[in-house]
């Protein structure tokens, strides 16, 4: 199978050269195949969001690393046509209506007549009642759902989700899990970050553990006994943390 995401030697230092410089990522390399659902697990501040942002070109990585998405430069327009992204910090802008926002995204993704697609996506995420409301007037959970919806507008091949369940209520988490399984059947690659073990255990093919900017372990979840992930999580992330 072709690789959907390929990352090699990614490093990131914030404020390089100053005394409060922080090395957020060091030497991260991994690969995700097409059609896989991969979870990126780590405690807060481990570098999950930074890694996602670098993969997408929103942050400039330190020199020396390389990323390719769908065998293309991540910021090439070809790759962009196949990418969906949900960020952990929520987008807010006064005066933009939900439907208009989604329509803009569908339009930019190449759908010249986006109304049907947007309605379908809204229905899928139970957002039809929010369609006419302004984004800034919505609750945190609603906005999170809209960001998720945006990530799937334009039928992307690779979807990046940053803490997708962070402010969702339990029924929505359940629906999301269903939805991701459907997407996997369609062959969509999903790469998401999380600190919620259960959700990961239920949908992922594979997990990557990240701690202090370094990938510390990688597990395929096919055929592993229940509780394996928790044990590994303790071993790699909890017990090593004090050092």
């Amino acid at each position: 199978m072709a690789s959907a995401i390929h990352a090699q030697n990614i490093g990131k230092t914030f404020n390089p050269g100053s005394k409060n410089s922080v090395q957020a990522l060091r030497d991260v390399s991994f690969e995700v195949q097409q059609g896989e659902i991969v979870g990126l697990i780590g405690p807060n501040g481990a570098g999950k969001s930074t890694l996602l942002r670098i993969l997408l070109g929103f942050l400039n990585a330190d020199k020396g690393g390389s990323v390719s998405i769908l065998s293309q430069h991540p910021e090439s327009l070809e790759a962009r046509r196949g990418i969906g992204y949900q960020a952990d910090t929520q987008f807010r802008s006064p005066g933009v209506r939900t439907s208009a926002f989604l329509e803009l995204h569908a339009l930019l993704a190449g759908n010249a007549d986006p109304t049907d697609e947007v309605t379908a996506v809204l229905r899928h995420f139970n957002l039809l009642n929010a369609a006419a409301r302004k984004l800034s007037a919505l609750s945190k959970g609603m906005r999170q759902k809209i960001e998720l919806a945006v990530a799937f507008v334009g039928s992307p091949k690779v979807v990046f989700l940053d803490e997708p369940t962070a402010s969702l209520d339990p029924p929505s988490v359940f629906e999301l899990r269903e939805f991701l399984t459907q997407q996997k059947e369609k062959g969509t690659t999903v790469f998401f970050s999380s600190h919620n073990l259960t959700e990961v255990e239920n949908v992922c093919d594979r997990v990557l553990f990240i701690l202090d900017g370094t990938l510390v372990a990688e597990h395929s979840l096919a055929g592993t006994p229940p509780g394996f992930l928790e044990e590994s999580f303790r071993k790699h992330l909890v017990e090593r943390k004090p050092s």
């Binding site: 929103f58 942050l59 962009r80 990418i83 807010r92 993704a109």
Partner: protein, 244 residues
């Protein structure tokens, strides 16, 4: 969409407030001037007030706000280049400034000329058109500079910076003029303190001082460089800096 995002409730007060200010400025001028010269008065209010203020208020944080709100990030996940994004942004900002010039610069000028002018009202279409074209170019120049600034710094800071630059350029310019007139190089430096090509071109045209070829060229060169810098910075910046 970009255009609509600029017009928040507060934004509606910008042209209206500026319009009120310019009217207050124009009425005494109309009362004492023996000849109410439409183009000249337009130059006075637009170049000194409307254009810089409108540009600063609409574009001070033109990029930084988009970065902060995550808007730029949501757009750039799609297959558009950063330059395309900036072009649209510029078009929206420019239209807003044009509307402000009309509301705050043109309408008060016509109204005051019609109702308050004591002297003859001089209304020559040629100079007026030239003057307003130059305002628009000057507005573009300032917008370009502000885009460049706002790629790296937040909006309020940029407005302060622009104001400080204006004042510094004027005072350093006159200081150099009075103290170092004998030094060729320092006088040359004076020409580069603030890009004033369009302004001095307009002065020359209104003063019937000949064709301002080199002034216009300076203006266009400055305009071009400010745009080049703006485009360059937009492609360089990190669009999602918020920490985890």
């Amino acid at each position: 969409m970009e255009f609509r995002r600029q017009w928040t409730v507060a934004a509606f007060f910008i042209p209206i407030g500026l319009g009120a200010l310019t009217t207050i400025m124009l009425v005494p001028m109309a009362l004492i001037q023996p000849v109410y010269d439409f183009a000249r008065n337009a130059a006075q209010i637009n170049l000194s007030m409307v254009v810089p203020f409108a540009a600063a208020l609409f574009c001070g944080g033109i990029i930084s706000i988009d970065v902060k709100e995550g808007w730029l990030r949501t757009l750039l996940i799609r297959p558009i280049t950063r330059q395309q994004y900036l072009l649209i942004k510029l078009a929206a900002a420019f239209s807003s400034v044009v509307i402000t010039i009309v509301v705050a610069g043109v309408i008060p000028n016509i109204a005051v000329g019609a109702f308050f002018a004591k002297g003859v009202v001089r209304y020559e279409i040629g100079p007026i058109l030239v003057a307003h074209t130059l305002f628009l170019l000057q507005a573009l120049l300032i917008i370009g500079l502000l885009v460049f600034f706002s790629c790296w710094m937040p909006g309020i800071f940029n407005m302060v910076l622009l104001a400080a630059w204006y004042i510094a350029a004027a005072s350093i310019g006159s200081y150099l003029q009075s103290r170092f007139w004998s030094s060729e190089w320092l006088m040359l430096l004076r020409d580069f303190l603030f890009p004033s090509g369009f302004t001095s071109a307009l002065e020359m045209i209104l003063g019937n001082a000949g064709t301002p070829t080199s002034e216009l060229a300076w203006g266009f060169a400055a305009l071009g460089f400010s745009f080049a810098l703006a485009f360059w910075s937009v492609t360089r910046i990190e669009v999602d800096k918020s920490s985890e």
